[in-house]
Amino acid sequence: MFAIIKLIQSLFGALHSEGTPGQLAAGIVLGSFLGLTPLINIHNAVILAALILLNVSFAGGMLGWALFVPIGFLLDPLFDWIGHHLLLAESLRGFWTSAYNTPIVPLTNFNNTVVLGSLVFAILFAVPLFFATRLGVVRYRATIGERVRQSKFYKTVMASKAYNVYKMFRP
């Protein structure tokens, strides 16, 4: 229940933050990496660092993460298939072999079919996701954003203590 409230808070918090639609979309895109790919991997440490260091919506990142975790689970067979085909592609064998025998690189687990497949998918998905999200936020703010902000529901949700935690990281 808390997670759902938090998710709703994140959603409204991000949509009604002072951040630009681009910042919000970038945050969601970075969060989608965390959700789509297996979490405990080096590239996600980089993503997390980027989410903290870059001037993007952290709330959007959390929202993207929360939204894309179940999608990641659902698409795991697809990721496995993509990774399998990429890693065993004859034309890429030299590249993978070099990467596998280069220090540090293997620690990224790129040679795991699900990790590589999901990462590639997340990268390819990032561009349309960014533009679609940005457009959606702009339209939302221009149409029903103000009415939602004035609604009792919004005020109730945002009054909870969890929102205060969120505010520490708002853009």
């Binding site: 903290i52 496995d80 990467a99």
Partner: protein, 602 residues
């Protein structure tokens, strides 16, 4: 946080890319991560080692404590327990302490190169409280170990040896239904045939009409006695009478021949009754519940199911080695790490002149057998060149162990394209595990003995040999078995055998090899069973013979008597009439010779 409160369009060009204020918290996060790693590294490494070991071996790997000392390139494991992949409540091995010298630099390539492992306090085959099998319970589904387990199990199941069907009940006879005996209808048919023959012969005999011929001849003879030599008519009449007698004799001869043929047929029918009786004996014997001794080989039937197990287990490890240590430098897949998300597959990309993903250069093993006895036996072993990429390492993996009663060695040569796996071991003075003998409710405890194992898997061709020798075998039987007649008989046959010399061989193509099992018990069990059961079987057979005799002998005797009577009667009649004809013919010829003075008249 970004401090941009200006209208969006105007501030877009001035939006900061970085949140410099977040560097501090990020560094704090990093420090927290390092501290957590420092605190939990040993625990994480222990969990990971257990997880990977379990995944690789298909049985639970448990480590009490693990300490990483990467600064000195050392990893210490304490209280290592590796469960048996095949036995539920038994460990494959336990080790008090393992100290590994690890090359730190290859770790940056996610490669584990261990220069040396010293293992102390190894123990094998110890009992455990929980089921440690993983692959055996996965039904061939998950991971390489699960698939290999399913394959080897299927491989072992192909050896369907017919079990020795030794019934545990008493020797008994099902009820004998007279209608199912063939002698009775045969005897009835023979009796009818004999009666029919008798009637036919009587008709034929009457059809001969010998009475008028004999009467006519008698009259002619009387006439000739009073006729003179010049009475030509009387002479001619005499000759005609002789001719009629001869013709009558010919008819009698033909009838006699017919009777002889008919009698021969009836005698054949009597012989057929004997055959039918023998068939009835066989049928009645089939109603006996006797133990079957018709298994192709008593040894195979008794020991093959148990003897195949060592081969199955060695093959499991050999096939695991082939999966994890494949020859060549092609990319190879292994099951990915366990996680909430799908594990996927880890693809390795070996590269010439690079380090293998895993390499154990050398391991020294020391262990005790019978550690609690007064004179524990100390053994030593070595393992060299265990690697995930034999083609990169360039030398085969070798394993050896020696001790007072142990000599073992193994070589896994996966350097070339066709892998060759060889293993051999002789272990003496150990207590061999007791086992149930399949097909019979007997329990064989080999006691202390010697086992030998030879195994060679060259490509897809297997040659393997497994030997058990013991001189103090003891047998046990279950209580239900003890009360049965067969149980007692088998028990008396086997309980006296104290030596065991069992040899099982497998050879041929791996997918369909030949299995041969030989033991000193084969002939002994078969012979003694036959000897002991012989008297019982003979008594039971006599019993069924008596039952058959009681049902059929009377009918057979009646048929035999009937045939004999008919035969005698027919032959007597024929002989009597033939005698009369011959006597009359003789008297007529004598009188004609007297009348003519021996002169032959035209």
């Amino acid at each position: 946080m970004n401090g941009s409160r200006e209208p969006e369009a105007g501030s877009r060009s001035r939006i900061k890319i970085f949140r410099w204020k977040a560097v501090g918290p990020l560094l704090v996060l990093l420090v927290i991560g390092v501290v957590l790693w420092w605190i939990f590294a040993d625990t994480i490494a222990r969990h990971q080692s257990e997880q990977v070991g379990t995944q690789i071996l298909g049985a639970k790997v448990e480590i009490q404590r693990l300490h990483l000392d990467l600064r000195h390139g050392k990893v210490m494991l304490y209280g290592l327990t590796v469960a048996s992949p095949h036995e539920a409540l038994r460990n494959l091995m336990q080790a008090d302490e393992l100290v590994a010298d690890v090359d730190v630099l290859p770790l940056t390539e996610k490669k584990l190169v261990i220069n040396r492992i010293a293992a102390n306090g190894l123990r094998f085959g110890t009992a455990r409280e929980t089921d440690g099998r993983v692959a055996a319970k996965s039904d061939g589904g998950d991971g390489i170990a699960g698939r290999v387990m399913a394959e080897t199990r299927e491989w072992a199941n192909q050896f369907k040896v017919p079990a020795l069907q030794l019934a545990t009940g008493k020797i008994s006879i099902d009820s004998l239904d007279p209608r199912r005996l063939s002698t009775l209808p045969a005897a009835e048919a023979l009796g009818a045939r004999a009666d029919s023959s008798r009637k036919a012969w009587q008709t034929s005999f009457e059809g001969l009409q010998l009475g008028p011929t004999i009467d006519s001849a008698n009259a002619t003879l009387e006439k000739l006695k009073h006729a003179r030599a010049t009475d030509i008519a009387a002479l001619n009449e005499g000759r005609q009478a002789i001719t009629r007698l001869k013709r009558a004799g010919d008819r009698v001869t033909a009838l006699e021949r017919n009777v002889k043929t008919g009698v021969a047929g009836l005698q054949s029918g009597l012989a057929g009754l004997d055959s039918a009786k023998r068939r009835d004996y066989a049928f009645a014997r089939s109603l006996l519940k006797l133990p079957s001794l018709d298994a192709p080989s008593v040894g195979s039937a008794l020991f093959a199911p148990g003897a195949i197990r060592p081969f199955e287990r060695v093959l499991y490890y050999a096939q695991l080695a082939r999966r994890y240590m494949p020859p060549g430098l092609l990319p190879r897949a292994a099951t990915g790490p366990q996680r909430v998300r799908r594990a996927g597959e880890d693809i390795r990309f070996p590269k010439e002149k690079a380090l293998p993903a895993f390499l154990l250069r050398s391991a020294e093993l020391s262990f005790l057998l019978h550690p609690n006895s007064e004179q524990p036996q100390r053994y030593a072993g070595h393992l060299t060149g265990l690697t995930s990429d034999p083609a990169l390492y360039g030398r085969p993996t070798s394993l050896g162990a020696t001790g007072p009663l142990l000599a073992a060695g193994a070589m896994l040569n996966h350097v070339r394209e066709i892998p060759v796996d060889t293993a051999g071991a002789t272990l003496g003075g150990i207590r061999l595990p007791a086992f149930d003998v399949p097909g019979v409710p007997l329990h064989l405890d080999p006691g202390s003995g010697t086992t030998q194992l030879g195994f060679n898997l060259n490509g897809d061709t297997i040659h393997a040999r497994f030997v058990i020798r013991s001189s103090n075998v003891t047998w046990a039987r279950d209580s239900g078995f003890a009360n049965s007649q067969i149980g007692g008989l088998i028990w008396s046959a086997i309980s006296g055998i104290s030596n065991l010399d069992l040899e099982a061989r497998i050879s041929g193509a791996l997918h369909n090899p030949d299995l041969a099992v030989r033991s000193n018990l084969d002939q002994a069990i078969a012979t003694r069973l036959r000897a002991v059961l012989g008297a019982q079987v003979a008594a039971a057979e006599k019993q069924v013979h008596d039952r058959v005799d009681a049902l059929v002998n009377q009918r057979i005797a009646a048929a035999r008597t009937q045939v004999t009577q008919i035969e005698t009667q027919a032959q007597a009649q024929i002989a009597q009439q033939r005698g009369k004809l011959d006597e009359l013919q003789k008297q007529l010829e004598q009188r004609l010779r007297e009348m003519t003075g021996g002169i032959r008249l035209p």
